[in-house]
Amino acid sequence: MNGSVISGKNIYKIFKLGEERVAALNGVSMEVKRGEFVAIVGTSGSGKSTLLNMLAGLDKPTKGEIIIAGQHIEKMSEGELVKFRRDHVGFIFQAYDLLPQLNAIENVALPLSFKGMNKSRRTKEAMHALKQVGLEKYMRHRPTEMSGGQQQRVGIARALVVRPEIIFADEPTGNLDTKTTISVLHLLQEVVHEAGNTLVMVTHDNNLASYADRRLHILDGEVVYED
């Protein structure tokens, strides 16, 4: 069971802005193995977010193949992609994007409700995920009653709760101070190495990328080297 969870072959993404064509990805090929923590590193505008969105099934490539968990996602319709994301992927966002009206448990339970799970099971699973990220004391707090680091832990719990094949994170510590950033990165390492998840994280910061098992360096829409 240690094969590739993600495999991308010759991915191109061209954005058309009126007459102008922006090549955000220029033939990217890459693999992510099960249980790996991979960072996508590069400067602003290099195509990191674009690549992540392709890999996560949020957007489709102009050309190329993307195989996740054995499924070709470049061939899927919008409806199939929605279902695919619901069942296979978790997301962590830079701005946390928690629902302000919901407390931590309800926020974490939300993706489960999209799957149609009943309320008592949802709550149980959500509480379990919140314990995993060390927030047992903040279960009934709303986002506005938590610090940025705590909110991002809720965000991580929300990604974990669906037991996804892969978790995607775009600059997950972009809004946090240095100390909180390090503790969140340690948590992400733990989530991968101890709980056996697979994580793909985008960052522009080489220091942060060093927490990953492997780094894909991207420049002008191409993976220039790996380390």
Partner: protein, 220 residues
Amino acid sequence: MWTEQEILMILQGLWETIVIVGVSTFFGYVLGLPLGVLLAVTDSDGIKPHPMLYKVLDVVTNILRSVPFIILLVVLIPLTRAIVGKSYGTAATIVPLVIAAAPFIGRMVESSIKEVDHGVIEAAQSMGAGTFKIIWNVLLAEARTSLLVGVTIAFGTILGYSAMAGAVGGGGLGSIAIRYGYNRWQPNILWPCVIILVLLVQLFQVLGMKISKDLDRRRS
């Protein structure tokens, strides 16, 4: 100052007003809530943009909103007669009120939904939420306090319209005020009706203010 009969009449008018406004607000939302959701969802920055449908709803809503209520009342008499069988009285007042309220409620619902943070909507989409799940679990759930404030505003506005309906034979306090105050100049009937109407509007404004203050506290 008042005969027992007059007091009973005013109380009866108050009750009719509450029924008319309550029922009209309810049916106004039966039409206006889906309308507002559709407007918000099909707009170019909504979760399911649909330019054609949006344009049609937008135009119809604007046209209905720009017809003065007193004119709408007259224009709708055939429809009212078709639905309730007659063109005067309590039930007959409700039809034009609902038609006038629905587009107004639709716009309020639309703007409440558009206040919901875009990041949160995108997060839900990325988690694989379908359109209906997003409408229910994210848009309506997040906008609920703002929607509730909207209900109190709608109630107040419909109350104002309902008094106008009195002019063409609708029921309620408005009609009593017009019949006894305007036609017969009986201030002892006119003023209690006016005062009760003002108090009702105030009551709902205070309620709306209280809800939005609670909302602000939660957001801070």
